[in-house]
Symmetry: D3
Subunit: 78 residues, 6 copies
Amino acid sequence: MPYVNIKITREGTTTGETSTTVKEKQALIKGVSDLLFEVLGKPHNSTFVVIDEVETDNWGVGGIPVTEHRKQAAVKTG
Amino acid sequence: MPYVNIKITREGTTTGETSTTVKEKQALIKGVSDLLFEVLGKPHNSTFVVIDEVETDNWGVGGIPVTEHRKQAAVKTG
Amino acid sequence: MPYVNIKITREGTTTGETSTTVKEKQALIKGVSDLLFEVLGKPHNSTFVVIDEVETDNWGVGGIPVTEHRKQAAVKTG
Amino acid sequence: MPYVNIKITREGTTTGETSTTVKEKQALIKGVSDLLFEVLGKPHNSTFVVIDEVETDNWGVGGIPVTEHRKQAAVKTG
Amino acid sequence: MPYVNIKITREGTTTGETSTTVKEKQALIKGVSDLLFEVLGKPHNSTFVVIDEVETDNWGVGGIPVTEHRKQAAVKTG
Amino acid sequence: MPYVNIKITREGTTTGETSTTVKEKQALIKGVSDLLFEVLGKPHNSTFVVIDEVETDNWGVGGIPVTEHRKQAAVKTG
């Protein structure tokens, strides 16, 4: 009965997408559940996987929000 | 000073509702606070209860999102 | 399939106990599970309840650790 | 590589604001990252800070939602 | 920069083990990091994976602690 | 009434220490509480700060446990 919480920024990783797609979420849920079954024998139907999507203003790294990171990276790559 | 986090799917459990109602949230908050007072003597005013509602695409069980579960269940009950 | 996380300090609330007893944990687990069934109709066997016990040095309120609170309270009540 | 999660109610603390502003989030992210560097020497670029904003219906204290608290407080100050 | 939290009971899943082994933890960390890279392109070195092991007295399902479940299951299989 | 959870590895950051000291925990609790008061006006006595210390086998980054990182770093600095 594992509980797995995946926190990711609310950003698209596929061109044109602004957040994680349903198909990507399905792949994350299946992948984590398979992993816990393979490594620890935990049955799929008692493994919970919860995906939290966080706004980039609300996620900080390097002392600044991710929104800032993205702007600085865009300037650099011009 | 307990901190209690309740994670539930964003689904209605009352006919016509699409998510947990204000009244249901009030009942959860009161019930948990009363329980911690009765069992551990924790005063209500220093017990935090936080309810997180999670989209059914973002909650996996059995290796698939809850959204899929609901579809499969609806097909079965036809 | 709710997931409920209860965070409490690692302190006894019964005379002579230094942390939450097994019986108290059973009462918390049963109480929360019953509550989610009564309020939202969530079946017991798909409700997870996880209790985290936190050292009093590791829990702060009022800007100081709970360990300090307990000392200050003991001095006041002499 | 600390991970810091800040849960706050979705309320404005500046006149006219209905939730935490971008500037306030920046100050929280910078302040926490600086603190972990000063106290534990943790480099900024491997410190994650995630801010979760919770609706006042979903946050309980004193056995009632914060929404109720605000109403009661408003009546008292009339 | 995903943050993934895996909560599991403190139980061995290999004969003679009383909790998750170092090798199993390595496999979980690698598996989750690979998954987030494959599905969302998230680089390994900015993916945090934290494994929390929870005592079976502290994890409830079906309204009772897992410790009880194990006892009941042992009686059934006699 | 903010709730702040700080997750750090169980490692000493002062020579001779094997984990975060009481004084360091006090500084983290005070610093976070002061920050939430200064930025959002949140009173100290309704701000909870919880510090979770995680074993280095249980914290992964770069696809491997922190324990492995420390070994590889020690070899490099020889």
